[in-house]
Amino acid sequence: MMKNAVSCRDVVVVRGDREVLHGVGFDLRAGSVTGLLGPSGCGKTTLIRAMVGLQAHVTGDVSVLGLPAGAPKLRGRIGYVTQEPSVYGDLTVTENMRFFAAVLGVPSSDVERVIEAVDLTSHANARVDRLSGGQRSRASLAAALLGSPELLVLDEPTVGLDPVLRRDLWELFHRLADAGATLLVSSHVMDEASRCDRLLLLRDGDLLADDTPQGLLASAGTAEIEQAFLTLIDRKAGAR
């Protein structure tokens, strides 16, 4: 089995006349849950879009499941959840899942499974635009689970969810990882960091840290991830 599900080297992304990522490199170990943390605007979404093959003007090496990012053979092997819930508001949850299942070519029996996995069974026949924001983003997550993809890339999937639901989703993420999937979960909420196997800290297009939560706290000499983030920023500023 392959050791790294994703491998990035010297990834530079230019948007317009601005360089958004300045040479980012990291590996995602297969079967792990990695948190991609950083403030809004730091390049998280751009990095994610480069991995799923939707970002233009990417240089450097982005290798996903042993293939270059965006390779046609990867389509359907990656579950991608965009920041905005990317489901059809005028269709029900079930209709949305049936459509995406048909596009992926997975059996429609999978539809019920993913709706249950995100705890939307009681709203399966409700139109998505009649659901709450949190329910909508769970519907979007459910679509990414169809066909049990090997890599799940989730862009802020837990924003606006109540704590109980967030805990349930993180448990789901770890169950998926235990079953062999690799997950990258972006967040700007630092308190989610402790739930990850590994952390990537991104700031202004540079990777500040690539470590386990424990390793990060130890090297920064702090008790909390947020404090560790600040320490790393100060150290980097001092090194200049």
């Binding site: 093959g53 233009a56 990656i78 991608y80 965009t82 819930p85 990317s86 059809y88 048909a102 139109r127």
Partner: protein, 245 residues
């Protein structure tokens, strides 16, 4: 291209339209209403409706289809569903063909309604067969769909897409033979009208009205319209980008 995916998109677009009564009403009732309005306007000048009625059956369906479909891919881009679909085994042509197929079905209903009303309620006189007029009207609706999908792939925002209507369709309406027969246009304008798709859509309707069947001239115009439909979808697929800045 994967038929499974194309049909999935078409079925989904139809399911969405089924919920959107206002759009369906606009697509099916509006062309018939507009043709009826023209009939009423020319009520006191006999013969005029027989002359413009046919071309209107080509022009109204294609404009209305254009407007509705020109925002289609933009809506999916802004909602993020296009991003999701492009990480799935979804060909760009699958996506556009799915939309074209769904709206072609609507175009059939639209044509049946507008042709029936024009021929049997408003007594539009044509020499050719009603079914041939119907086939041509369907093609013209699909032409508007294909041009709309192309414009939608070409525009970066919904705001830009809406501006495509006056830019793309109005010159064609002016030059297609509805206002001035094409052979009476100044030479340069006639030359321009020769490369515009709507000209052939109107020629095909005029051919049927004159009693020329598909085997005697009208078929050629219909084939040119079909060619424009395929070209617009192909160019649209080539313009649609998986990777965006």
């Amino acid at each position: 291209m994967t038929p499974r995916v194309t049909f999935a998109v078409a079925a989904r677009v139809l399911a969405q339209l089924r919920r959107d009564h206002r759009t369906v009403a606009m697509l099916i009732v509006l062309p018939a209403l507009l043709v009826s309005l023209m009939w009423w306007m020319f009520h006191d000048s006999p013969g005029t409706f027989d002359r413009v009625g046919g071309p209107l059956l080509a022009v109204f369906p294609s404009i209305i289809m254009f407007v509705v479909t020109s925002v289609a891919t933009l809506r999916e881009r802004s909602s993020g569903t296009l991003s999701r679909l492009f990480t799935m085994p979804m060909g760009k042509l699958d996506f556009l063909l799915g939309y074209a197929l769904a709206f072609a079905l609507i175009a059939v209903v639209q044509a049946v309604v507008v042709v029936s009303i024009a021929l049997y309620l408003l007594d539009l006189n044509i020499q050719g067969d009603a079914w041939q007029l119907g086939v041509v009207a369907v093609l013209d609706g699909v032409l508007g769909t294909a041009l709309g999908l192309f414009a939608s792939a070409f525009a970066a925002t919904e705001f830009q897409a809406v501006q495509m209507m006056p830019a793309v369709m109005i010159p064609q309406i002016l030059l297609c033979g509805l206002l001035v027969p094409r052979d009476q246009l100044p030479t340069v304008l006639h030359g321009i009208s020769d490369v515009l798709p709507l000209s052939y859509a109107v020629d095909a309707v005029l051919g049927v009205a004159k009693g020329n069947g598909f085997t005697t001239g009208t078929g050629g115009d219909a084939l040119v319209v079909l060619g424009f439909i395929l070209a617009a979808l192909g160019l649209g697929a080539a313009t649609l980008k998986r990777r965006t800045a």
